[in-house]
């Protein structure tokens, strides 16, 4: 008996130690990285130009990984394709130029193609619109408080808007809202609480639960006859919410588009924004999903997809707004400081362009609400809060005459109306 136990102890101790050692050592050794091969991910266009003036060359920059044999800028105009060599600028950055004589007028699309052994990767297509005319201005600095049209607390109460914190993730706020001028309310997509909240200066007027119970909806826009359209990219569906009920169109092709893509609705067609091309892509038309050809074509139903009705291009100290209103017009607004971004841009019912423009004043950022009047070519800038205390899809929404801006503190969100002054 004694001998057997001794035998067991002698063999079990080294064996156990070996197993423990292996368990400790193996995770430290780790998994083996895959062998390097031509990258799968296509070149990434860097600040892809949306607009240019007549007579200007087009310079395109892209980040290309791996070791390409050649990198080319491929330009397509009216079905005809031309390619131009791109040169390495270091750190994976390549640039190429299309001479002004080849840019011409109108519109063209471009992409960057990287050739590797046994593989060619092509970037997402960019789209350039040669503007018919560009008006330049410096914004007149004005200080406006705006009119608070609704203010609601953040929290778990019925009359509060939902907020969700993630210890290792973003704080989620109501993602978006629409302005109902006729009813005198803002209609807020209260994502965390899976509902729409109608609110005015007296507080919550009514709430509508999303029938699918989804807490992943990211945008809302006005639809037909008082309905609103809610985009849910995770579920890949658009839900129409009206007094008649709720109807979902699924599999719309929004699942793998950029998170926080914005919806638009015109003439029975639902569009989603494309940040690279500065345009809107039709998802659903007359209740049916669009075809691939329809998604890549220029729209002819009132929402120009060439420059998305309005789009912004940041360059140094200025922002170039392109507006498609029959002709392609440009408005360059130049600031005293470096412009960081023009994260949101819209056009109100009176035809004014509005944008949230961030500038850099070392070491901080400052935000202005900028308006451009296409009739006079003049612009104004009003200082506003840089950000809301969390992540949202849309802070700026056009109204019939002016805009409503979402502002916020840790405790509440305010919806503030700007504009509406006589011209």
């Amino acid at each position: 008996m004694f001998r057997r136990r001794r035998k067991l102890t002698r063999s079990a101790v080294p064996l156990g130690a070996l197993i423990v050692s292996a368990l400790l050592v193996l995770p430290a050794i780790g998994d083996s990285p895959p062998s390097a091969s031509p990258p799968k991910t296509p070149p990434q266009l860097f600040a892809p130009p949306l607009f240019s003036a007549s007579g200007q060359a087009l310079t395109v920059t892209a980040v290309v990984t791996g070791q390409p044999k050649a990198v080319r800028l491929v330009v397509e105009r009216a079905g005809e394709t031309t390619s131009y060599p791109m040169e390495a600028d270091g750190d994976g950055v390549y640039s190429g130029t299309v001479p002004a004589s080849d840019v011409g007028s109108g519109e063209l699309s471009y992409a960057v193609s990287a050739e590797y052994d046994r593989r060619t990767n092509t970037s997402q297509a960019g789209r350039l619109v040669v503007l018919d005319a560009i008006e330049a201005s410096s914004p007149k600095q004005v200080s406006r408080a705006g009119e608070v049209v609704a203010e609601l607390g953040l929290g778990s109460g019925t009359d509060e808007l939902g907020v969700s914190d993630n210890t290792e993730g973003a704080r989620q706020l109501p993602a978006s809202f629409v302005v109902d001028d006729a009813a005198g309310v803002v209609r807020i997509l209260d994502t965390v609480k899976a509902r729409l909240v109608d609110a005015d200066s007296h507080g919550v007027r009514s709430t509508t639960k999303l029938a699918n119970g989804s807490t992943t909806a990211t945008d809302v826009v006005r639809g037909r006859d008082g309905a609103v359209l809610v985009l849910d990219q995770v579920r890949d569906e658009v839900v129409e919410v009206s007094s008649r009920g709720q109807r979902a169109v699924s599999g719309v092709g929004a699942r793998t588009r950029d998170g926080g893509s914005r919806l638009a609705f015109r003439s029975d067609t639902i569009f989603v924004s494309d940040a690279v091309q500065g345009r809107f892509v039709p998802l659903v038309t007359k209740g049916r999903k669009t075809t691939a050809d329809e998604r890549s074509a220029r729209s002819s139903d009132g929402l120009p997809t060439s420059i998305g009705a309005v789009a912004a291009q940041v360059d140094g100290n200025s922002v170039l707004f392109g507006l498609d209103a029959g002709t392609n017009s440009g408005f360059r607004v130049t600031f005293a400081d470096q412009v960081l971004d023009a994260a949101e841009v819209t056009v109100d019912g009176a035809g004014r362009i509005w944008s949230l423009v961030g500038v850099y004043r070392e070491p901080n950022a400052a935000m202005s609400l900028v308006s451009v009047d296409p009739e006079t070519g003049t612009s104004e800038a009003t200082p506003v809060g840089v950000s809301v205390p969390g992540d949202v899809t849309r802070r700026l929404v056009a109204a019939a005459d002016g805009v409503v801006l979402m502002e916020g503190t840790e405790q509440s969100l305010r919806f503030v109306r700007f504009g509406g002054e006589a011209r």
Binding site: L24, G30, D31, G169, D258, L340, A343, V345, V359, M367
Partner: protein, 181 residues
């Protein structure tokens, strides 16, 4: 012979304990290129967000056995402190580590970025944090980023305003010795 075997086992145990318990904060996979990392980051898109985890199935579906939070995703893409397979759940660092404690490169210029630089901010009295990876710049000055955003959005490609990041006092960092090819 037996003594030699025991010495080897003791050595292995010591190595295991050293490597497993006191993970070197400066470690990273030296063969891991930006090209490989960008492919890996793209594979992880449209997958599920779960706090404290770092594993995914590359199928654009939220599976019950996967999930990544923001720092888990970033560390996996950067291959710090080492490369792990998609379904290996390994979460070595939090946003606090990326924000405060890393010996990686911290950039002074926060108005621009390079491919796969990390952006990190802390909020709610420094009790919470969020981070992601810069990919490329959009025409309107915002940046295309990849991030494991939250339990509602999952791991997404999105546009982020640099103005907004600066207002949150974000830090831009990078791995050392990292090449594009």
């Amino acid at each position: 012979m037996k003594r030699l075997l025991n010495t080897c086992i003791a050595g292995l145990m010591l190595l295991g304990l050293t490597a497993g318990i006191s993970r070197p904060a400066q470690a990273y996979s030296t063969t891991w290129t930006k090209a490989q990392a960008l492919d890996y980051a793209t594979d992880g898109l449209w997958e599920k967000y779960v706090f404290g985890r770092a594993q995914f199935r590359n199928n654009n579906t939220w599976d019950s056995d996967e999930g990544m939070d923001c720092s888990g995703y970033a560390a996996k893409v950067w291959a710090v402190d080492r490369y792990t397979y998609p379904m290996t759940n390994y979460h070595p660092y939090s946003t606090s580590s990326f924000y405060y404690g890393f010996p990686y490169e911290v950039f002074k210029d926060r108005t621009t970025a390079q491919l796969l630089n990390a952006w990190t901010y802390r909020y709610d009295n420094n009790t919470k944090g969020h981070m992601g990876l810069f990919i490329s710049k959009n025409a309107d000055g915002t940046w295309k980023v990849y991030e494991a955003r939250d339990s509602s959005s999952g791991v997404i490609s999105a546009s982020r305003s640099i103005s907004s990041l600066i207002s949150r006092n974000y830090r831009r960092t990078d791995r050392k010795d990292w090449y594009y090819s």
